[in-house]
C-alpha cells in the first residue's frame, strides 16, 4: 500500500451521460417484463408441452377404452354429457402441472433472489403481482384451452361412431370452462407462492386445499358433507365443466365464481404480503 495509489485527480462537476433512453416504470412495461420472464424459462416451456401431450394422450386412452367397452357402459355413461366429462377428466392431471407452474412463477423469484432485482426495478411492488397474474393467466389459459380442446377432439375421434361433436349442447362451455378452471388453479398457486415464498410449502398448500380437503370432509357425517362438499374449491371449480352432474353440485357459473373467489382471496393475501413484508 503506497501513497501514490491514493492520490487522484479531483472529481469533475457532475455531468452524467444520458445516452440511454429510460422511461418511467408503467403498468404495461412491467407486464412486458413479466411476459419476458414467462417465456424465457426453458423448464416452463417443456412443462407446458408435456402437459398438453400428457392430457391429450390420456384422453385418447380414455376414448379408446370407452369405445372398446361400449357394450358394457351403462346408459348414463353413454350420454354426450357424460362422455365429454369423462374425457375432460384429464384436467385432473393438467391441474397438477399448471398449479405447480403458478407456484413457481412466484417462488422462483424468491428461491433465486431474483425478487430483489425485480422489486428494485419496480419498488411500488404491486404492479409486479398484477402483471404476473395477467401474464400467467394469458399463457395458462391459452395452453389449457389447446389442451382441453385437443383432448376432447382426440378422445372423441377414438370413440369412433359414438363420439360427440363440438356442436353438442354444453360442449364448448365444458371445454372453455375446463381451461378456465386450470388457469384459476394456477393463479391460486401464484398467490400462495407469494404468501409462502417457498415452493414446497406453496405446492403442498395448493394441493392440500384442492385434493386433500375433500378427502378430509369425506370423513365427516353424511349430512355435514352434503352441506360442505360442493362448496370446497375443487368441487365448486369443476362445476364449470360438469355436463352430467351427479348428486348435489353448484351451477356451472356460480360454482366457478366461488372458485374464483377462493383464488382472489389467495391473491389478495399475496398483495398484502408483497406490499408490506420485507423482500
Amino acid at each position: 500500500m503506497t501513497a501514490t495509489t491514493l492520490t487522484r485527480p479531483p472529481a469533475p462537476e457532475p455531468a452524467l451521460s444520458r445516452a440511454v433512453d429510460v422511461q418511467p416504470v408503467s403498468w404495461t412495461r412491467v407486464l412486458r417484463s413479466e411476459w419476458i420472464k414467462v417465456r424465457s424459462l426453458r423448464s416452463t416451456v417443456i412443462t407446458l408441452v408435456l402437459t398438453v401431450l400428457g392430457m391429450v394422450g390420456l384422453a385418447m386412452i380414455a376414448g379408446a377404452a370407452m369405445n372398446s367397452r361400449w357394450a358394457h357402459l351403462d346408459p348414463f355413461d353413454r350420454t354426450p354429457g357424460a362422455l365429454t366429462q369423462h374425457l375432460l377428466g384429464v384436467v385432473f392431471l393438467g391441474q397438477l402441472a399448471i398449479g405447480v407452474l403458478g407456484v413457481l412463477f412466484a417462488t422462483g423469484e424468491y428461491a433465486h433472489g431474483m425478487i430483489r432485482a425485480t422489486l428494485a426495478a419496480v419498488p411500488r411492488r404491486l404492479p409486479v403481482l398484477w402483471a404476473k397474474v395477467v401474464a400467467f393467466a394469458a399463457v395458462a389459459f391459452t395452453v389449457s384451452l389447446v389442451a382441453t380442446l385437443a383432448s376432447f377432439l382426440a378422445g372423441m375421434a377414438l370413440l369412433g361412431s359414438h363420439g360427440v361433436s363440438l356442436g353438442a349442447p354444453g360442449v364448448w362451455r365444458a371445454i372453455i370452462g375446463a381451461a378456465a378452471y386450470l388457469t384459476v388453479v394456477g393463479l391460486m398457486g401464484l398467490g400462495l407462492g407469494f404468501v409462502l415464498r417457498s415452493t414446497a410449502g406453496a405446492i403442498s398448500s395448493l394441493f392440500g386445499v384442492l385434493l386433500v380437503l375433500p378427502a378430509l370432509v369425506a370423513a365427516l357425517p353424511q349430512n355435514w358433507q352434503d352441506h360442505i362438499s360442493r362448496y370446497l374449491p375443487m368441487a365448486a371449480g369443476q362445476a364449470v365443466y360438469t355436463l352430467a352432474p351427479e348428486g348435489a353440485s353448484m351451477g356451472p357459473w356460480t360454482g366457478f365464481a366461488l372458485f374464483c373467489g377462493y383464488a382472489a382471496a389467495a391473491i389478495a393475501l399475496a398483495a398484502v404480503s408483497l406490499r408490506y413484508r420485507d423482500a
Partner: protein, 320 residues
C-alpha cells in the same frame, strides 16, 4: 447522493442497523466498510426500499427510492451476486429488467459488452461462475445509466483481472460525477479505490471521513520508549499535541504519540537520559481498521485478535 437520517432496522430481537446517519456524496467512491454482520447489506437494502426501516429514513437524490418514477435510473444496485433466476439466460434476465423502464435490447447488449459477457449472454445463468454472476449483477446495475451506484461486495469471487476491472469501473463512474457506494470487509481493497470511508460495526457508524484523513490518523506514529527515567522524560516530552502514557512497569516505559522517535532520542540525549529501547510503531490502514472495528466483530478466529492499544484514539471520535 444518498442521505440517511437516524436509520434503524431491527429483525426481531436483533438490531441490524442502529440509528445510522450519513450522506454519500456524488463524484466520489465511498467505501462502506465493516466486518461481516456490521449492517452493510441491510443498509443497502434499506436504501433500495427492499426492507422497511424500523425508524428513520433514507433518501436517494432527494426522495425515497420507491418514489422515483424511473428508479433504476436513480440507483443501480448489485446486492448479491445472484439476484437472477438460474434457468434464464443472462440476456433474457437483463431484457426483463430493462423492459420495466422501456429500455431497449441495444442497451442490454451494450452493458453485456461492457462487463465482458457477450460470449455467454445467451447461456443460462446456471452455468456461470461466481465471477461471471458478479459481472451480470454489475451489468444489471448499470442498465439504466444510474446517477448512483450501490454495490455490495463487488469484488467477491472475481479473479485479479476482474478485481482490477471493478476498481477502474468504480473510479470511472465517480469521475463521471456519479455517487458510488461500495461495500467491502477488506480495508486493503478500499484503500485502492475509495475516496471516502464510511465504517460501520454492529449497526453503528464508527467513522465517516475522507480516505486521506483516515490515512493521516492511521499513520500517526506511536513510539515506545523504555528508560529508567521515564517520569522525567515524560515531563520533557509532554505538550499540546503530544500524549504520553506509562506502559509496562510504571516509571520504566512510555508510549508516546505526537512526536517522532528522532525527536525523543534528541531530547533524551540533550538531557542525559539513557534510553534502553526506542521503537516507532507504525499502524497500517488495516491495523487502524481492525482496531476501530475490534469491538464489533461477530465471529472471530482464535489468535488473530487485534491489539486495541494500537487504536489511534482520535479515530473513533472523528467525523467529517
Amino acid at each position: 447522493m444518498i442521505e440517511a437520517e437516524h436509520l434503524s432496522k431491527r429483525y426481531g430481537e436483533r438490531t441490524a442497523v442502529d440509528d445510522v446517519s450519513f450522506c454519500v456524496q456524488p463524484g466520489l467512491v465511498t467505501g462502506f466498510l465493516g466486518p461481516n454482520g456490521a449492517g452493510k447489506s441491510t443498509t443497502m437494502r434499506l436504501i433500495l426500499g427492499l426492507d422497511r426501516p424500523t425508524s428513520g429514513r433514507v433518501t436517494v437524490n432527494g426522495r425515497a427510492y420507491a418514489e422515483h418514477r424511473a428508479p433504476l435510473a436513480e440507483v443501480g444496485a448489485l446486492l448479491e451476486a445472484r439476484a437472477v433466476h438460474n434457468g434464464r439466460s443472462a440476456r433474457n434476465h437483463l431484457l426483463a429488467l430493462a423492459a420495466t423502464h422501456g429500455i431497449g435490447a441495444r442497451r442490454v447488449d451494450d452493458v453485456i459488452d461492457l462487463v465482458g459477457l457477450s460470449e455467454v449472454a445467451r447461456k443460462r445463468v446456471k452455468t456461470f461462475s461466481l465471477g461471471m454472476g458478479q459481472r451480470l449483477g454489475i451489468a444489471a446495475a448499470l442498465l439504466a445509466d444510474p446517477a448512483t451506484v450501490v454495490l455490495d461486495e463487488p469484488v467477491n469471487g472475481l479473479d485479479p483481472e476482474g478485481v482490477r476491472w471493478i476498481r477502474n469501473l468504480l473510479r470511472g463512474l465517480a469521475l463521471e460525477g456519479r455517487t458510488v457506494l461500495v461495500s467491502s470487509h477488506l480495508m486493503s481493497e478500499m484503500a485502492l479505490t475509495a475516496d471516502h470511508l464510511l465504517i460501520v460495526g454492529r449497526g453503528r457508524v464508527l467513522a465517516d471521513m475522507s480516505m486521506a484523513e483516515f490515512m493521516r490518523n492511521a499513520s500517526r506514529n506511536i513510539v515506545r520508549v523504555r528508560t529508567p527515567e521515564a517520569t522525567r522524560l515524560a515531563g520533557l516530552l509532554v505538550g499540546p499535541d503530544v500524549t504520553v502514557e506509562p506502559v509496562v512497569e510504571p516509571g520504566r516505559g512510555l508510549r508516546v504519540q505526537g512526536v517522532t522517535a528522532e525527536h525523543i532520542g534528541d531530547v533524551a540525549c540533550a538531557h542525559g537520559i539513557a534510553l534502553h529501547e526506542l521503537m516507532a510503531e507504525e499502524a497500517s490502514l488495516e491495523d487502524a481498521f481492525m482496531a476501530l472495528t475490534a469491538d464489533s466483530v461477530e465471529y472471530r478466529g482464535g489468535g488473530a485478535t487485534p491489539d486495541p492499544s494500537r487504536t489511534p484514539p482520535e479515530m473513533a471520535r472523528s467525523r467529517s
